[in-house]
């Protein structure tokens, strides 16, 4: 178990979670009495081999999967559907809607579109350098631009918790670096709780406060590696220059199950 951190407010708590899938081959257990606590405002990366239950964990938190035993507690949260925003590896933009309409899809469903929404969208688009694309259709955008739009769609929901399922894995290197720092900065500015699934150790160290590493299923516990830095402003260079970077990298590397390292 990880030790209690400086974040005082507890936000997500999973208590004694046991979760199985039923396949034609029989029952396959993913989690067995798993306990996990994420504090409010914490940025946590989740690593582990394929099929270890990372995405399942997200489905439990957001409430898309209710077939488990144990308890998922979200503190101070009345309405789970507006409190948690989810972003996936694929941008999943709707081809028949313009970029603006795509960005507001989620808040429109939730009935949260306000007169100030247009301004907010423009602000985010300017921040990510894609202001000129507001009236375009997704087919006219590059992969990186589309993922930026998907990220803005997630951010505009202004949810307390953001679940990011490998959102940067399919985009080009430069856009990825840019988005990693933007997401880190935004999360800290707005005091969001972020969970990020990734296979990229560098990404985990660069953006998060803590990395948790699952082993092969079934998982009843996980390893925790603290990835904090005493740097004022994180950047691709400043993080790598810090001697802690190499230590964190080695620690995470050795915590991953053997086959995941290769």
């Amino acid at each position: 178990m990880h030790k209690k951190r400086s974040f005082d407010q507890m936000n997500i708590e999973l208590i004694n979670i046991t979760k199985s899938f039923y396949t034609p081959k029989g029952k396959s257990e993913i989690f067995k009495d798993l306990n996990l606590t994420i504090s409010s405002g914490e940025f946590v990366s989740i690593l582990g081999p394929n099929g270890c239950g990372k995405t399942t964990l997200f489905n439990l938190i957001i409430g898309l999967d209710n077939d488990y035993s144990g308890e998922v507690k979200l503190d101070h949260i009345v309405d789970r559907r507006t409190a948690v925003a989810y972003m996936m590896q694929r941008d999943l933009l709707l081809p028949w809607k313009t970029i603006y309409q795509n960005i507001i899809t989620g808040i429109k469903i939730q009935g949260k579109v306000k007169s100030s929404t247009m301004g907010e969208v423009k602000e985010y688009m300017a921040r990510f350098g894609i202001s000129s694309l507001i009236n375009n259709y997704p087919s006219q955008l590059s992969g990186g631009e589309r993922q930026k739009v998907a990220l803005i769609r997630t951010l505009i929901m202004d949810s307390e918790i953001m679940l990011l399922d490998e959102p940067f894995s399919a985009i080009d290197y430069h856009t990825r670096i840019e988005l990693q720092f933007q997401i880190h900065a935004l999360a800290k500015e707005t005091h969001k709780t972020v969970l990020l699934i990734t296979h990229d150790i560098d990404e985990a160290i660069t953006v998060s406060d803590r990395a948790i590493i699952f082993g092969q299923k079934p998982n009843s516990s996980f390893k925790t590696i603290d990835t904090t830095f005493n740097i004022k402003e994180r950047s691709q260079i400043s993080v790598k220059q810090d001697p802690k970077y190499a230590t964190y990298f080695t620690d995470i590397w050795h915590s991953l199950p053997k086959q995941e390292q290769l």
């Binding site: 957001i62 898309l64 309405d79 559907r81 507006t82 948690v84 925003a85 989810y86 996936m88 694929r90 999943l92 709707l94 081809p95 028949w96 809607k97 899809t105 989620g106 469903i109 939730q110 259709y137 997704p138 087919s139 929901m157």
Partner: protein, 250 residues
């Protein structure tokens, strides 16, 4: 642009050669002329029957019957197909029935339609509707089923209700499939109307062909066939324009 013109002209070459052979080789003796008619006679027949208003009236009749049948068949069929998305169970229960209905030769129900709806326009519209409905159901259900499961998951994460997912995601993403069904159904709607006219009618292209065939007027038969083709092309053109305005994001 110039290249396109050249391509269109090149495409016409086989047709022109075919028509020339037909006109001057095949139809050079009176026996063949009686059996096959000739392009010039067909053209004369077209002009004559447009002048006296017979073909104009027939085109309007068949066009209207096919159009209303097409509308009814596609709207009803499309709605049923999309609605089946709501329940996998109902979809799988009704599937064999839909396939069975689709397998009935439309010709065989024509006498019944005429008994039920009379020899007027309604029977023809019903025939056109019946011959389009199965394809509309199957295509729209397929379209609804093809919706990306990840996309649905994203909508669920927004907290969307099933109704919201249906109207915001399933219907628009099935549009491409719906248009495929519309395109396929043009010829089926015409066929339905045509068959009903063939059996019992006092106007329409099916009726005209039946009558002209009875009097060995091959020229008029083929003139009416050309009219059907023109009708189908006109319908296709309308749907093409409709699709272009509706699916402008492509």
């Amino acid at each position: 642009m110039k290249k396109r013109m050249v391509n269109i002209l090149l495409g016409l070459v086989p047709l022109v050669i075919f028509l020339l052979i037909w006109e001057f080789v095949i139809s050079s003796n009176s026996r063949n002329l009686f059996l096959f008619s000739s392009p010039s006679r067909i053209f004369d027949s077209l002009i004559e029957n447009f002048r006296n208003g017979i073909l104009t009236r027939d085109i309007l009749a068949t066009g209207q019957e096919a159009f209303y049948g097409f509308l009814i068949g596609n709207i009803v069929g499309g709605s049923i197909g999309l609605a089946l998305w709501y329940s996998k169970r109902i979809a799988s229960l009704t599937r064999p029935y839909i396939i069975a209905i689709g397998a009935i030769p439309i010709f065989s129900v024509a006498p019944m339609m005429i008994i039920w709806f009379g020899t007027g326009m309604y029977a023809k519209i019903m025939m056109a509707a019946l011959s389009t409905i199965t394809i509309a159901i199957i295509q729209s259900y397929e379209g609804a089923k093809q919706v990306d499961t990840q996309q649905i998951k994203l909508f669920q994460s927004f907290g969307a209700t099933r109704k919201q997912i249906f109207s915001n995601l399933v219907v628009p993403s099935s549009l491409v499939w719906l248009f495929n069904s519309l395109k396929l159904n043009i010829s089926f709607a015409l066929l339905g109307a045509f068959i009903a006219e063939f059996i019992s009618a006092d106007q329409g292209l099916g009726h005209r062909i039946f009558k002209a065939g009875g009097t060995y007027d091959v020229s008029l038969v083929l003139a009416a066939v050309i009219c059907i083709v023109l009708l189908a092309l006109a319908f296709s053109g309308i749907i093409y324009l409709f699709e272009k305005t509706l699916i402008k994001w492509k």
